[in-house]
Symmetry: C2
Subunit: 251 residues, 2 copies
C-alpha cells in the first residue's frame, strides 16, 4: 500500500516526488470519475485539475485506461484486505456489521466502477481481462465469509445456497445504479447519491435475511433500519417512480 | 404468429399487405437483434434480409429506434397479457410453473432487450421514456402474482419483502447477460445461449425459495432441477470461470 519508497528518473517527477505525483493523479482521477462520470473525464481534464502538464501525466500513465486499470487493482487490493476473515476466533455478529460497513464505504469510494461497467470493459482489453479476476476473487471471499457465519451458527445455508446468494448479491450491487437508471429513478448513473446507495444495501439485507439464524437474526432488523434510512422508504412501485433526482418529466 | 404467409408486392405497402410488411420487418429485426446484437444490425441489414428496399422499410419505420421501441411495446403487451392472474380461482402450484415457463420463453424471445439495455436507453429518448414504464408495469404485476401466492398459502412474505424480492429478481434477470460478460463466462453478451439462460432462472429459483411454504415448497426442488439442467452445474467459483463459450483465453 505504501508506494512512496522507490524512484523513477525523469525530468518532471523523480523519486519520492514522482511517486507522489502518480498517487495524486490516481486520487484526482478517482474523484473526477466518481463526480462527473468516467466517460466525461479526459486525461487533459485530470492534468488541468492537478495543475500539471499533460506530458507529466503521460509520463506516469500512458492513457486513461491505464489509470482505470490501476484504480481497479487498488480497489481489489483494498477490499480483499478489508474483507479478511479473523483467523484467531470464530465469526461474530459484529463482523456482519463490519462487513456491511466496509462494503458500503468501498462501494461509495469506487462507485464509478459500478456504474457503466459494461462500457468500461468493452472499451478496454486490460479491464476485460482484469475485471473477471476481481469479480471472482471478491465473490470467493464472500463465499468464505458466509461459510464462516454458517460455521458460527449465525446463518443456515448449504454451499450451493451460499454460492447462489453471493452471485445474486454481486449482481444486485454491481447493477444497482443501472437499475435506478433503467427504471427512471435517476436520470444518469452519475447521479447516484448516498440515499440511493443505502437503498441498494437494503436490497442486500433482504437477500441474506432468509438465511440468518440465532443471533444473526437480530442483525436483520438493525441493518434494515440502517439502510432504510430516515425516509422509511417502503414500497416503491405503489407510487410513480419516474425521475426523482431533480429533473421533471417532459410529458 | 405465422407471418410468412404471403409476400408483399409493392413499394408503398398499403392496407393489409402494408401491415404484413410492417410485421415482417418487426419479426426479422427481432431475429437479427437477438442473433447478431442490436448494435451490429442496421436498417439496411434488415431490409436486405427481407429482400425489400430501404425506402420500403423507412415507409414503415423512420429509423431503427422506432423498430426497437415498437418491439419493446410488443414485449410489454405480450408479457403483461401472459402474466395475468386467474380471476375466477385462487392461485395454484401449477401457476408457479406456468409463470416460470412464460418468463423464460418471453425472456428468450426478446433477449436482445436484456443485454445492453443501458446502451439502448442512452441512445434513444423514446426508449428512455418507455423502458421505465415497462419495468414498472412488469414489476407491479410480479408483486400481484406473489401476493396471490401468499393469499393461496403457497408463500409467506410481507408486502415489503415481496417488493424487495421483485426488485432483486428484476435486477438479476435483466442484468444476467451482463454479469456473464463481466465475469468472463461469455465473451460478448450476444453469446448467451439457452444453457446460460437456464442458469439465470436457477438464480431466480434461489431468490424466491426462502419464501415458499406448503405446496409451494415442492415447486422449489422441481424448478431447481429444471433450471440446473443436465450439467448439474453446482458451484461456479471453485473452478476457473473465465470464458467458456468456445473461446480460449489469450494467456
Amino acid at each position: 500500500m505504501n508506494k512512496d519508497t522507490q524512484g523513477t528518473s525523469d525530468t518532471e517527477s523523480t523519486g519520492r516526488s514522482g511517486q507522489k505525483t502518480r498517487d495524486r493523479i490516481l486520487q484526482k482521477s478517482l474523484q473526477l470519475f466518481n463526480e462527473q462520470g468516467e466517460r466525461q473525464v479526459t486525461t487533459n481534464h485530470i492534468a488541468a485539475a492537478l495543475g500539471i502538464s499533460p506530458g507529466n501525466l503521460y509520463y506516469h500513465f500512458r492513457n486513461k485506461e491505464a489509470i482505470i486499470s490501476e484504480l481497479l487493482l487498488g480497489y481489489q487490493h483494498e477490499i480483499l484486505g478489508l474483507l479478511e476473515i479473523p483467523s484467531d476466533r470464530p465469526m461474530q455478529l459484529a463482523d456482519k456489521f463490519r462487513y456491511f460497513q466496509i462494503l458500503s464505504s468501498q462501494f461509495w469510494k469506487y462507485r464509478f466502477l459500478h456504474r457503466d461497467s459494461n462500457h468500461l470493459i468493452e472499451s478496454s482489453a486490460i479491464l476485460k481481462e482484469r475485471y473477471p479476476v476481481f469479480a471472482r476473487q471478491v465473490m470467493q471471499q464472500g463465499i468464505r465469509i458466509y461459510q464462516g457465519f454458517v460455521d458460527a451458527g449465525l446463518m443456515r445455508a448449504t454451499a450451493v445456497e451460499i454460492e447462489a446468494l453471493i452471485i445474486n448479491i454481486w449482481i444486485v450491487m454491481t447493477s444497482w445504479s443501472n437499475f435506478l437508471l433503467m427504471t427512471g429513478h435517476i436520470s444518469q448513473t452519475d447521479h447516484i447519491d448516498e440515499r440511493w446507495l443505502r437503498q441498494g444495501f437494503r436490497q442486500m439485507v433482504f437477500l441474506e435475511a432468509p438465511y440468518l439464524m440465532g443471533d444473526g437474526l437480530s442483525a436483520y432488523e438493525m441493518l434494515l433500519q440502517q439502510f432504510t434510512g430516515e425516509s422509511g422508504l417502503g414500497l416503491w412501485f405503489g407510487v410513480d417512480p419516474i425521475v426523482s433526482d431533480g429533473e421533471s418529466r417532459s410529458d
